[in-house]
């Protein structure tokens, strides 16, 4: 079907993209114009297995953000296989002024972009991650804009890590929760409400805080932080054994990252109301 695209001009782009993937992923078994999953309402132009639990797909099109990728964004994220998607378009279309907002949206939505010049050379404009793992950067920026700079920087760092390795990013976020818990315990010690040994495991420190009458109004936030650490502290460990397990891991990490930020904000707010300044 003309290089697996919707229109007649896709073969040149498909050939160029195939050559690029062959070079980058050591000649994977490329499939053109075949379905990834029967439940997914999209037949990509190209797809291949990058690893046992990651499928990379590409949609060839005359424009940077083809309608099919907009239409199927949620569906791709919901297939029980982690799928990372590139859009492949002519360089000429990428340079067009009217396409710039579409290109920004494409990136915000977690897709990658490859452009092909007149000689068939491919340039990767930005990368992609499995859509199930994707959290828009604008969402993170919006959520953390009210919090102090040091915490904000640590969250941003964790987010960068998350985009490269979902599990590691979530583990890093749980370390931030731990650091806040220790800082809050230190503040409570100073006020004379607690006398907890700060070298104890964080879970124990949080248990002590939970039982402290002066911190009763923050019990929900303390409990939330305690449970978050126990669930996500070791998210980077235990690599998935199957595509489905990988999908579940990516999905849980995405939820975990969002939840982690909420826990951090709740914990900080609750402590602030009690007059405990926390540093990170």
């Amino acid at each position: 079907m003309s290089g697996g695209g919707l229109t007649t001009s896709g073969q040149f782009l498909t050939d160029a993209a195939e050559e690029y993937f062959n070079g980058l992923y050591e000649n994977p078994s490329l499939r053109t114009s075949t379905q990834i999953d029967p439940s997914l309402g999209w037949t990509p132009s190209i797809h291949f297995k990058a690893s046992n639990h990651l499928t990379i797909a590409a949609e060839v099109s005359e424009t940077p953000y083809p309608a099919i990728l907009r239409l199927r964004h949620a569906d791709i994220a919901n297939v029980q296989v982690p799928i990372a998607v590139y859009s492949v378009c002519p360089e000429e279309a990428y340079l067009e002024k009217k396409e710039q907002s579409n290109i920004r949206q494409l990136q915000q939505h977690g897709y990658g972009l490859l452009t092909v010049d007149g000689d068939g050379h491919v340039q990767r404009r930005f990368g992609c991650i499995p859509l199930i793992q994707h959290i828009p950067e604008t969402e993170i920026t919006g959520v953390i804009k009210e919090i102090p700079r040091p915490i904000k920087l640590r969250i941003r760092d964790a987010f960068q890590n998350y985009e490269l390795n979902a599990g590691a990013g979530v583990s890093q976020l749980s370390e931030i929760v731990e650091a806040l818990a220790i800082s809050a315990a230190k503040g409570a010690n100073t006020k004379g409400w607690l006398s907890v040994n700060l070298t104890l495991p964080v879970a124990r420190i949080l248990d002590e805080m939970f039982a402290c009458p002066q911190l009763k109004s923050a019990a929900a936030a303390i409990g939330g932080a305690r449970s978050y650490i126990s669930v996500y502290r070791n998210a980077a460990h235990h690599p998935p054994r199957s595509k489905k397990a990988a999908y579940i891991k990516y999905r849980d990490c995405q939820h975990g990252f969002r939840e982690g930020i909420r826990r951090i904000l709740d914990f900080r707010d609750s402590m602030k109301k009690l007059g405990i300044q926390i540093r990170c």
Binding site: T7, T8, Q35, P38, P66, A67, I68, L71
Partner: protein
């Protein structure tokens, strides 16, 4: 030359069972148009069955390649299809042409590319060369459309490729159109008929005209009609061949920014206007003769008399010297 309506049956087919028809004259599927259709199909499904014929266990498209492409892209598991008997090569080609001639969004070029093959198959299957009327009846195209297609078919290959590349672009971004080549070729035929010496440099002439059109020196495709009128002025107005040749050479020179309109204006426009006016005057003269002969002078109304009086004044001024 009607195509018989064979018995048909409706089936639900998996899109992967279907192959595109190699004779489909629609060579171009534009992104914007395809995406609109795809979004509609994603929302409402395929509402109108496609038409296919069975061939060695597969199904070949007769009508509905755009719907089929969208269904494939959307990974639909079935698509409604009317299955009919396998047509002969000529019937297949004629069916495709008729289907596309009836649609709005088709390009002359895509139809034109099949016309030669239709003629060849006519010769092979029916043992004679169809004339323009027969081609028109068989393909559903008007005779005018067939003539336009033949103009495109007569283009040298590199212009066909240029046109095809341009047709791949969305409508809004296309600068070179089929109309440009149709108008240009029509006028160049007229030019070379009167001035055959331009035949030797016809491709250079085409290059210069296309470039002048691209850069806006030639403002509209209809300007080419004036190009033809400069050439026909040799017969129609009696202007010298050398004058027409000089004027056209200026237009065909790629190194200047001389356009058709200005050359037409400075060379033959006045003469053409004069000729048209003369035709009107002759008509008026006949009319006035008739009035005088039939003695209907008294029947002329006042407004008409007033117009004649004004004309008389103008004529006095014109003829004073």
């Amino acid at each position: 030359m009607g195509i018989q309506n064979p018995p048909r049956r409706l089936k639900q087919l998996h899109p992967s069972q279907i192959r595109p028809n190699p004779e489909n004259p629609r060579l171009i599927f534009r992104q914007e148009e395809m995406e609109s259709l795809m979004v509609s199909i994603a929302k409402h499904g395929v509402q109108v069955p496609i038409t296919v014929y069975e061939d060695k266990g597969n199904f070949v498209l007769l009508d509905g390649e755009r719907r089929w492409r969208c269904a494939k892209k959307l990974n639909l598991h079935e698509i409604p299809a009317l299955v009919q008997q396998k047509p002969t090569d000529l019937e297949n080609l004629l069916l495709m042409s008729n289907i596309h001639a009836l649609r709005e969004q088709w390009d002359y070029f895509t139809i034109a590319t099949n016309l030669d093959r239709i003629i060849d198959l006519f010769k092979k299957e029916r043992k004679y060369t169809p004339n323009e009327i027969e081609l028109s009846e068989a393909t559903g195209l008007t005779r005018g459309q067939i003539r336009r297609c033949q103009l495109l078919l007569g283009l040298p290959e590199r212009y066909k490729e240029l046109l095809l590349d341009e047709l791949e672009l969305p409508k809004g971004r296309q600068k070179i159109s089929e109309d440009l080549f149709i108008e240009m070729e029509k006028s160049l035929k007229t030019v070379t008929k009167r001035l055959p010496e331009f035949n030797d440099s016809l491709d250079d002439v085409r290059d210069a005209l296309v470039e002048k059109f691209r850069n806006g020196t030639i403002g509209a495709v209809t300007d080419f009609r004036q190009l033809a009128k400069i050439a026909t002025a040799i017969d129609n107005l009696g202007i010298k061949q050398q004058t027409a040749k000089r004027a056209l050479t200026k237009i065909f020179n790629p190194n200047n920014s001389v356009n058709i309109r200005e050359v037409y204006k400075s060379t033959v426009e006045f003469e053409y206007d004069e000729k048209r006016a003369a035709q009107h005057i002759e008509f008026l003269n006949d009319y006035f003769d008739e009035i005088l002969e039939e003695d209907k002078k008294n029947e002329l109304d006042e407004d008409f008399i007033e117009l004649l009086t004004r004309l008389y004044e103008i004529l006095k001024r014109l003829l004073r010297d």
